[in-house]
Amino acid sequence: MNSLIRSTARCLRQGAAVYLPRQADGRVWSASARFLCASADLQKDLGEMVKKDKVVVFMKGTPAQPMCGFSNAVVQILRMHGVDDYASYNVLEDSELREGVKTFSNWPTIPQVYFSGEFVGGCDILLQMHQNGDLVEELKKLGISSALLEAEKESK
């Protein structure tokens, strides 16, 4: 009980962002502290969540176990570029998050990809960026060197 009170107090002080399920690094936070934070705060929390990490993905399932072909495509594309360390949020675990992120991004579908706090798009856009070379450039701007670029250099 004490830990719940403590975590709730922390939640109210810092915002719920840190307590949402984080699958990318294997840690799963309890949703019990989060439900006490009003959903109106979710929009503010999302503003923080998308800036906390360079690459943020809202998806169905997790990078280890995607639950949707489109979400899986995003995971695979990022993996191809050597981007494995990113924040991912599983909207299937949290229906408030699922609806909240659509409002926040003004985008009707999942998955959703953010680079440095800026909305990039969904699966279609990421795929086209991957195909036309834009993704390598955008990752470079984030200070991430794409694995495909490294592979190309090595083959020369």
Partner: protein, 150 residues
């Protein structure tokens, strides 16, 4: 009885919506022959974006939703209105045109938005990735599909 084309755009909360059961559910693979959502998507995109070329594909049968659903679509829009616009702005134009469908029965929308020149140099339709079953047992998808049938 409302015209079929308005089935999807009515508010879910009306009593008529609640009184319809699944008994009229179509057991076969083809969507409703009148295809109200597909027709609505087509006409809205045609009216808003004045495309040179437009394809609307119902891909619901490729996903974990009941036969006859109109929940997953792929659209290819070729329009000069996309000239000079980054991909995200093009997609937002399409999303805006289909706002009603996306907030009711359409659960997934794949978009290819090309300028006439891009289409000429690469006249191909992209393929959707294989379904991983995420819609199975997803109650929000069931609700959306019910909304589409009433």
């Amino acid at each position: 009885m409302l015209p079929a084309v308005f089935r999807c755009v009515r508010p879910i909360s009306t009593s008529l919506a609640l009184s319809r059961s699944l008994s009229h559910f179509r057991p076969h693979m083809d969507p409703d022959p009148s295809r109200p959502i597909e027709r609505s998507i087509r006409s809205k995109l045609a009216d808003t974006l004045k495309p040179d070329h437009l394809e609307v594909h119902n891909e619901s049968h490729m996903h974990a939703v009941p036969p006859g659903s109109e929940s997953h679509f792929r659209v290819l829009v070729v329009s000069s209105q996309f000239e000079g616009l980054p991909l995200i702005k093009r997609h937002r134009l399409v999303n805006e045109a289909l706002k009603e469908e996306l907030s009711s029965c359409v659960h997934a929308l794949s978009i290819q938005a090309k300028t006439p020149e891009q289409w000429r140099s690469n006249p191909s339709l992209a393929k959707s990735p294989p379904c991983m079953g995420g819609s199975r047992g997803d109650h929000t998808v069931e609700e959306k599909l019910k909304a589409g049938r009433e």
